[in-house]
């Protein structure tokens, strides 16, 4: 109470305005009651989960791939078709690229959220499986359904299947045949060995043409370069995984030569001089599209705009990367399914959600998805006749007959981010290859120390990896 009683006077004034008989005590009681009721009401509203009817499905999906708008339409059409077929209600919530992981983590923490969630393949799915956040598909769907799903090697663990792939993709090398001709190189020249690759780069550079175009500013490019060349001496993806857990020496030439080969390309000036300040996709599109680089790595799903810019007849797609190694994996292409749908362990509609994931793999749904997106279907029940363009058919045939791992999805995300992303940036900022080998070793030691439970689960994964890629 202030010395001049001003607080008391205010309350009395209010009481007087409301009615002479209302005392200050009554007014304070009334205000407290209103405040308390408000807080209790807010608490109840916040605590009570929204009621869902039995048979309602909530799907958090990411419209991605070559044509995100088309993918979104395909998803929505599939949801409506499932509703008609099953009599269930499906609510789709489109996610954003930057937001879907944090939203998923929040849902896991809260123990409630979608019945189906989009996640990237490989380690991105399995880390959640290891922590008990996911339900495997094979407990809800018959094997004769899931055996048709393509590209699932990286999401099999402990004998179970943890992700339903949405579409297939591949990491290829695009070659501008017109620029090769300008440098007096036969556009169909072989690009299998490292010597062949360097010869072409040298001739291009001598002709004043940028041999290779790439961007590392946003970091993702480091993972691509790792996936392309770190497997040069590796026969099986499990080989590499042994080095991750410490059962083999990650600094040995078998696993680390790729850093020195990358430094070789850097020192010879075969990459664009602004590689450190360009983001990956912007670099690939602008450098290749404008004829400033003769060769670029590209995801198959993102090639179409480049073909339109450069001309389909002027582009050669190299599915198996040039290699300096003799490992069996080096002779395979790089296959991925970028993302698919997982079953959250907290879902109350697991069976229905699994059936929706299977519904997405019905041939009519896959055909519709292809018509709207031109993304390669992740199911062998779709006829290859659906694919009209020769370049895409070539990639699809390679994926089916000669699949190889996208190695980035088989290593801890911490290694990818802190060793590959940062390491490639450091290399092209002038640091040495030896520094990056040391960085990789230190990052793995840190991962083993900071994440012992993940390391245990990862070690268990090695056994599955050995089985899925029989080379």
């Amino acid at each position: 109470m202030s010395e001049n009683g001003s607080d008391g006077r205010l309350i009395d004034a209010l009481a007087g305005e409301l009615g002479g008989s209302l005392t200050r005590r009554a007014l304070l009681r009334g205000a407290s009651g209103v405040a308390l009721a408000g807080m209790l009401g807010a608490r109840t509203a916040l605590a009570a989960p929204k009621r869902r009817s039995a048979g309602d499905l909530v799907v958090w999906y990411l419209a991605a791939g070559a044509n995100p708008e088309g993918d979104k339409r395909a998803f929505e059409q599939s949801m409506r078709a499932f509703e008609r077929a099953k009599g269930a209600k499906v609510k789709g919530v489109a996610q954003t690229l930057d937001g879907f992981i944090p939203a998923w983590k929040a849902a896991v923490k809260a123990g409630q959220g979608p019945d189906l969630q989009y996640l990237w393949e490989g380690i991105f799915t399995l880390e959640d499986a290891w922590q008990g956040n996911l339900e495997p598909y094979d407990t809800h769907l018959a094997a004769q359904e899931t055996r048709h799903w393509l590209g699932t090697a990286s999401v099999r663990w402990n004998g179970h299947l943890w992700n339903s792939p949405r579409n297939l993709d591949s990491l290829v090398l695009l070659v501008n045949k017109k620029l090769l001709r300008q440098a007096k190189i036969d556009p169909s020249t072989p690009l299998q060995t490292w010597a062949q690759f360097l010869r072409v780069c040298k001739k291009l550079k001598s002709a004043g043409i940028g041999p290779l175009g790439f961007g590392l500013k946003d970091g993702f490019g480091g993972g691509w370069l790792f996936s392309a060349w770190a497997r040069a001496h590796v026969d099986n993806v499990a080989d590499y995984m042994r080095a991750v857990v410490g059962d083999a020496d990650i600094t040995s030439e078998r696993y680390s030569e790729w850093w020195f080969r990358l430094a070789e390309l850097r020192d010879k000036g075969y990459f664009n001089n602004d590689i450190g300040s360009l983001p990956l996709f912007h670099a690939v599109n602008s450098l290749f599209g404008r004829g400033r680089a003769a060769m670029v790595p590209a995801a198959a799903s993102a090639i179409r705009p480049l073909l339109r810019q450069v001309g389909v007849g002027n582009v050669r797609v190299v599915s198996v990367w040039p290699t300096f190694g003799d490992g069996k994996l080096a002779k395979r292409n790089i296959t991925i399914f970028s993302g698919g749908m997982v079953l959250p362990a907290f879902s109350k509609q697991k069976q229905l959600a699994a059936e929706f994931a299977a519904f997405l793999h019905r041939p009519d749904q896959l055909r519709n998805q292809y018509q709207l997106t031109t993304d390669l279907p992740a199911d062998d029940r779709v006829s290859a006749g659906l694919i009209r363009e020769a370049w895409q058919l070539q990639i699809y045939q390679q994926i089916k007959t000669n699949p190889g791992p996208w190695l980035e999805d088989w290593i801890p995300t911490q290694m990818d981010s802190e060793a590959n992303f940062s390491g490639c940036q450091g290399l092209f900022a002038g640091q040495s290859a030896a520094d990056q080998v040391k960085r990789t070793r230190d990052v793995l030691e840190k991962w083993r120390r900071q994440s012992p439970e993940l390391r245990k689960a990862y070690r268990k994964w090695i056994g599955d990896a050995r089985r899925v890629y029989r080379t």
Binding site: A13, L28, R43, E127, D128, I275, Q425
Partner: protein, 307 residues
Amino acid sequence: MKNALQQPARVAVPVGRRLIPRPVVRVARLEPWLFVLPALAFVGVTFGYPLVDLVRTSFTTTGGAAGLKNFRDLLADPSFRLAIEHNGILLLAVPVLTVLAVALAIFLFEGIRFWRVYRTLVFLPVTISIPVVGGVWGLMLEFNGGLNTILRSLRLDGLAKDWLGSTHLALWSVLGVIVWSQLGFGVVLFLARLLSISPELFEAARIDGAGWWRLHRHVTLPQLRGIIQFYVLLGTITMLSWVFSYVYVITSGGPADATLVSELYIYRSAFVYNQIGIASAAALILLAAVVVFVFLFFRLTGREETE
């Protein structure tokens, strides 16, 4: 009729010769708290609960309770130490922003022609969202981007550096973008304060023979003291815990962690590496650092005011 503004009379209940007053005083002491209660409850739910959960999570790993393991791992992690170091370097933006903002505010206050137009132009960057700022400057600062193209056309090739691709320059480039983006806020803040100062103070100083420098040193700056302190406090908190958007959009922490800051470290640990315990421990350390700084700041400025 009783005047509502009058104090109600004390009602005494005679017991022997002593007067026992009604418990009006106890209720009156509770009054302010009752009015603040809803806001306190809101803050408690939105800030207090997450804080408690943060503290709890910082002592756990995916395997369960982990004691101080997360803190030990954190302090042993060179990436975390590097992130803190980078936040420290970004603190250099605070004196730069303060000096530039004060200088510009004084300049505009002098009443140059079209000063309102300049004020609007200086404030414009503040109104642009950070992702847009980051995206535009990301393009401008590319090695073959807008800035270097201009420099090369002026035959200043030596100045055309790899602003975002060089590990030595990237953090300073980000600092420069932050200063460009935030400067206008300080200018408008100081200018508003200057415009509220009585002009008689300045006239009196001029009559006493004060030149430009003495006028601003002995009249303007003391008048701006409080607002400068506020701005420095706000700027420091910003550089410690509000630069995530700039770094994420412009460089994603690269090249080679050259622009890694503590917020990005926390984000990566939580959402990329699935190390929630470590992320929580890092967030707790960052919170503690900011709280300690704010506490010391108020102690220091409070002592200065007393003196």
